[in-house]
Symmetry: C2
């Protein structure tokens, strides 16, 4: 459910953008389970004063991304009201023949990989999620993901869901391996925060975090970047290039990341 004023502002993006995003975030959720999206139902509340115009643009956005990924708009509920734009998409998918990949299933020793660079999506990418459907299916074709999730709240936060739902495990992330998006560097210039922090904590990248059997030849999947391992000990830790390991906490991040940022600078 995307809410005007909370998730987007119509003076900063178009109803077409909102439609694409509403479809995209749902496609990303299906990707995270290695499913194949098939059909969508869409419920909308349209602002009365621009209802028809917004409906047309919104539909165009929903349909364009839906068409690209084989999703039919099969129904829904259209309302107009004296309130802001609300869009709720429910996406129907088909499970992979091997079954769906869940958040639960990670085990100590498993490898953690991501499908692309992260951070700074607020500079524009957050409106254009690229669902990693093909990537997820190719992984599950080989039956290698133990657990998976898409990054909507940030790598650390979403990995946390896997750790929690896998029975309270932990993880160690290799700082030098984390792919930082160029947007994270650009954003860091204005926020004054380290690019690594943006990569670890910014949301709406819509890359996948996949947890793989340690025996997996992850090199077979060129889109995967291994970033760490699952531990029995709860909590997320960062391993710095010098071998130092520090617990990851948002509060403790400033010091750690600034330190890393200084050392990592050219």
């Amino acid at each position: 459910m995307l809410l005007e004023g909370r998730h987007f502002r119509l003076d900063q993006c178009s109803a077409y953008d909102v439609g694409r995003k509403a479809m995209g975030v749902n496609l990303s959720d299906i990707a995270a389970m290695a499913g194949t999206p098939r059909a969508a139902v869409v419920a909308v509340a349209l602002p009365l004063d621009r209802a028809e115009e917004i409906a047309r643009e919104l539909h165009r956005g929903l349909a364009s991304l839906g068409h690209k990924y084989g999703v039919a708009l099969v129904g829904g509920d259209t309302n107009a009201w004296d309130g802001p734009l609300v869009v709720s998409v429910t996406l129907y998918g088909e499970a992979h023949p091997r079954g769906s990949v869940l958040r639960a299933g990670a085990r100590p020793g498993d490898r953690i990989a991501v499908t692309g660079p992260m951070g700074g999506s607020i500079l524009g990418r957050h409106l254009e999620p690229i669902p990693r459907l093909a990537e997820a299916r190719s992984l599950q074709d080989a039956g290698v993901p133990r657990a998976m999730i898409d990054i909507s709240d940030g790598l650390a936060s979403d990995l946390g869901h896997i750790l929690k739902e896998s029975g309270g495990l932990g993880a160690t992330l290799e700082v030098s391996r984390i792919p930082i998006h160029r947007d994270a560097y650009r954003l860091a210039e204005t926020t004054g925060r380290p690019p690594l922090e943006h990569a670890l904590t910014d949301g709406e990248d819509f890359e996948l975090v996949a947890v793989l059997d340690p025996a997996t030849r992850w090199q077979d999947w060129t889109f995967l970047t291994p970033v760490g391992t699952i531990d029995a000990e709860p909590g997320i830790r960062l391993r710095f290039p010098d071998g130092r390991i520090e617990p990851f906490t948002l509060r403790g991040f400033d010091h750690l990341a600034a330190d890393h940022s200084r050392r990592a600078a050219p």
Copy 2:
């Protein structure tokens, strides 16, 4: 999708009521196709100032009706915002083994029946839809409905959907057969409009309109009240007890119904 201020007011009903209604209207949609509801996903936007309290009551309402009809709440999306309460329910159902009953499928000569008395739901029944799931299934077990719809906008309006989607047919309703709810009589006292008008045009009764093969022994289904027949000629007509047939139009209704009301009075 139910919208505060548009479909309900929280000073006139509770969040529990809203939850029951949101589930009920969706159950009624599944009933109209003779399906069996199985699972629901619920997206909500909660007003920030009372988010937790409203969430709890809303969930209680959704779950109570869901439990009664075998529907599990399997997922959704919870948001809080600086706006009114919005609830969007998507209900998953299983199709009847004989297939789903659609709006399209009526033929001239078919009989039209309803599952209960109509009108005046605004006096309270609109908050407590009773989905006619068992009734619809028992009809489809025998394979007798050609088309079906639930009454959300009013008998005349919803029958109109069947007529339109069945290729532009018409219908003649027997005024003396239309079951008028006692609430329609109560409401008529305050609105000054005839109870028959309320029965034909009030929404949110959530009874079913079923179109049946004329050979159907509709007497086998005690919950059915036959109210008319499908015609090849487009439009809805009313046949009065004296045999007079008049086109049904909302504009022309005042005269016709007032006339009927006068004659029908004890």
